[in-house]
């Protein structure tokens, strides 16, 4: 009896605010400490192994060198921004003087011709991947819905999907480059050809997971929903937008999430060859530099690519949770 009372007593405590906070804190610490421990062990192992490996490009960079280079890249970025600011100020001054001297004189505002900094390159990569991903999605989702709704269409398109799915971006790139050059012969366009080549290659490689998952999602909708549509005598378009798409959203989003991941990987490879000024070009240029800092800088890029890929994935998960209902 006394034991029971004691247990009840303890249980009551857990339901107080204090108790709940403590439980939350416990969970937080456990959730954080395990990855933190493994991170520390990883860093220690990395330093130890790096110090022992001697490549022809110097010792494999350890975490300290990589951190130093990350700082160097940030400083280079600040320096370049400063130079750019100075350039525009100089130009504004010259233009103002020209205006004062002769109001009718031609004044041009020219773009700064300095190199793109590391942050500029990250932004270019993100912009390119989102463009490619967007292109892929607006093609893949409708195709996937049609495939899911109609078995004959699915059987007709399946061979193409299976054959084009495994094709590497480096194989697509020469073809894409030539087609874009033919269709877009001048260079007066708003977008540079290297950007278009990279974006299209990303789209071509990343649309397959979305097609497959959308088709699967549409095909495996609960039969009850279809019956509801029949009962309500819904026309085809309202049926698609009010019943089919919402019901298959989880799988569509899974497909989109995988596609974004694939697209991010493909982007880095295609940038190297298409010369789009993003992270892929950064890695290839550093490889060509072959300086004693190059390996460390490439590792900074590798980590950046990984972190951004992770963040993109998290963004997709959040979006998925936002549109998901019933979970």
């Amino acid at each position: 009896m006394i034991e029971q009372t004691q247990t009840l007593h303890v249980k009551e405590n857990n339901n107080t605010v204090g108790g709940r906070l403590l439980q939350g804190w416990d969970r937080f610490v456990t959730a954080l400490s395990l990855p933190l421990c493994s991170l520390v062990i990883f860093l220690l192992l990395w330093s130890a192994v790096a110090a022992r490996i001697n490549t022809s490009l110097g010792k494999l960079p350890g975490p300290m060198q990589v951190a130093t280079q990350a700082k160097v890249l940030w400083n280079e970025h600040l320096l370049e921004r400063h130079k750019r600011k100075e350039f525009y100020e100089r130009q504004a001054k010259i233009n103002a003087e020209k205006l004062a001297a002769d109001p009718t004189s031609e004044r041009k505002v020219r773009k700064y011709t300095g190199k793109p900094t590391y942050l500029d390159q990250i932004l270019t990569s993100l912009l390119t991947v989102f463009t490619g991903f967007f292109l892929a999605s607006i093609v893949a989702v409708p195709v996937g819905v049609i495939c899911g709704l109609s078995r004959p269409v699915m059987m007709a398109l399946n061979p193409f999907i299976q054959i084009f799915k495994p094709v590497s971006p480096l194989a697509w790139l020469p073809i894409v480059t030539m087609v874009v050059s033919a269709v877009y012969p001048n260079n007066d366009g708003f977008l540079s050809k290297s950007f278009i080549n990279s974006a299209i290659t990303v789209a071509l490689c990343s649309l397959w997971p979305t097609v497959i998952n959308t088709a699967l999602g549409v095909a495996s909708i609960d039969k009850d929903y279809i019956n509801v549509a029949r009962v309500l005598q819904l026309k085809i378009l309202p049926k698609i937008f009010k019943i089919i798409i919402p019901a298959s959203l989880p799988l569509i989003f899974t497909g989109l999430r995988i596609s974004l991941g694939v697209g991010w990987m493909v982007l880095i490879a295609s940038e190297m060859l298409a010369q789009n000024p993003g992270l892929g070009k950064f890695v290839w240029d550093e490889f060509q530099n072959g300086s004693s800092d190059s390996l460390a800088r490439i590792m900074v890029a590798v980590l950046t690519i990984g972190v951004i890929g992770f963040l993109l994935d998290r963004v997709m998960v959040l979006l998925q949770k936002a549109v998901d209902f019933g979970k």
């Binding site: 490009l57 020219r110 001048n186 010369q275 490889f287 060509q288 530099n289 800092d293």
Partner: protein, 451 residues
């Protein structure tokens, strides 16, 4: 007193306005500013030391003096660079001196490209792996314990035989099928009695009858593949030869100074179409490049150290300063520790190096014929006409005269020539080359087509 006061006031006004007067003075000095068709241009380059005139023209403000706002963009490899110039994404680029000839002749993507300015003369090296060097050393004549330079490919012949007997293939790399390094490497091998392979109608890789198999590899991968043993040697521009010495993965055996002295290595190229649409802009670019070349070779290379510092920035060549300096400041290191004085390892302006002589173009054409890239024998005037189509000393001369007028160049910097250098025997095999008689020149070779 009145005069004095007036004088005083005028000079005060002048001095106070000097900051605004100065730009005008330098503008006057640069000569009448050309009316440019396009002033924001993008030029491509490959991360090799000899892109330096382009970099200096930008960093030292020579482009800006002409009113040009230039973006320099590193390219992934020569194919991408040439495609982007031909396709119009790049206004012009740092090019292998033979590439425009190959493209204009239709050997690769047909495009009429012109070279109004030679960026560099010499500047390439041939490097072999450590094991190959160890095997070569006993066959190289020495003096006071050091190898006698130039090292000829005869020293490599016994190793080739060894490989053949063991059934292994001896592989070497170069940068581009119609590139400087392909021809320098083949010339060196041919001069040593080793057949580097022929191009035929059925063999576009140039390995017919080859004792050494040559293939294209991007420069950074040359170092990596040399180390892994996939290739046994390569020919490339610096800093890659010196990189191999510093990293202990290879030994340079010779340089283009010994193999084909005086032949242009890289040129600044634009498509003929672009040149026709932007003649004044092209003149402005060439003016800036002449000034850059002059700066680089000024006073026995006093500016070279500064050039090295600029080149080692990651957006240009990016290699470590000491690696670039090893071949840019009058020396070249062969075996580790064996640094020799070689002030002409790379020449940018001295001795009229930047003038696009037709004889340089014709030499490359003779080598293209020798190895079969040009499929049939051609008469002498075919060579002359193609050289005149691609190499444009007329543009160089126009730019140089403008600079003389502005006081930057002296008349002695302009060569008195009809475009052909006099006959010379400065090649590793001593063969005499007269650009006016290409077919006669071809006759004297023992390996490759002789007509």
């Amino acid at each position: 007193m009145k005069c004095f006061r007036l004088f005083f006031v005028m000079s005060a006004i002048l001095i106070l306005n000097l900051p605004t007067v100065f730009p005008t003075i330098s503008a006057l000095a640069a000569g009448e500013k050309l009316k440019l068709e396009k002033d924001e241009i993008t030029l491509g380059f490959i991360k090799l030391t000899d892109c330096v005139p382009l970099v200096i023209a930008k960093e030292k403000g020579f482009f800006e003096d002409e009113g040009l706002y230039v973006t320099l963009q590193a390219q992934a490899n020569w194919k991408v660079l040439m495609d982007r110039v031909i396709g119009g994404e790049l206004d012009g680029a740092h090019m292998l001196a033979a590439a425009p000839l190959g493209h204009t002749a239709g050997l690769l993507t047909k495009a009429h490209i012109i070279i109004p300015y030679v960026l560099s003369v010499n500047g390439a090296g041939i490097t072999v792996s450590n094991e190959v060097w160890q095997k070569m050393k006993p066959h190289v004549p020495t003096e006071n314990g050091k190898p006698v330079h130039p090292i000829k490919a005869e020293a490599l012949k016994p190793i080739i035989e060894e490989f053949k007997a063991a059934g292994k293939s001896f592989k070497m790399a170069m940068t581009y099928p119609v590139g400087t390094h392909n021809y320098v490497e083949r010339y060196w091998l041919g001069a040593g009695g080793i057949h580097p392979g022929l191009y035929t109608s059925t063999d576009t890789s140039g390995m017919t009858d080859a004792e050494v198999q040559l293939s294209v590899t991007p420069p950074p991968q040359m170092a990596a593949t040399l180390e892994s043993g996939t290739i046994h040697g390569f020919c490339v521009g610096d800093p890659w030869n010196q990189q191999c010495v510093f990293k202990g993965i290879g030994v340079p055996v010779t340089s283009s100074y010994f193999v084909d002295r005086g032949i242009p290595d890289k040129g600044f190229g634009v498509t003929k179409e672009w040149a026709d649409q932007h003649p004044q802009t092209l003149l402005a670019i060439v003016k800036a490049l002449i000034r850059a070349g002059q700066w680089l070779d000024e006073d026995n290379g006093k500016n070279r150290v500064e050039a090295v510092k600029i080149l080692s920035k990651p957006e240009y060549v990016g290699a470590d300063q000491k690696v670039i300096a090893n071949s840019m400041t009058g020396t070249f290191e062969y075996e580790k520790g064996d640094k020799r004085s070689e002030p002409d390892f790379d020449v940018y302006f001295r001795d009229h190096a930047s003038y696009p002589y037709y004889s340089g173009a014709v030499w490359y054409l003779t080598q293209m014929r020798r190895w079969g890239q040009i499929a049939e024998p051609k008469p002498d005037d075919w060579y002359d006409q193609l050289a005149k189509k691609v190499y444009r000393p007329d543009i160089w001369l126009k730019a140089a005269h403008l600079l003389v007028k502005a006081g930057y160049l002296s008349e002695t910097d302009i060569p008195q020539t009809d475009g052909y250098k006099p006959a010379s025997g400065d090649f590793i095999d001593g063969a005499v080359y007269d650009g006016r008689k290409p077919n006669e020149y071809l006759k004297q070779f023992k390996i490759g087509n002789t007509n």
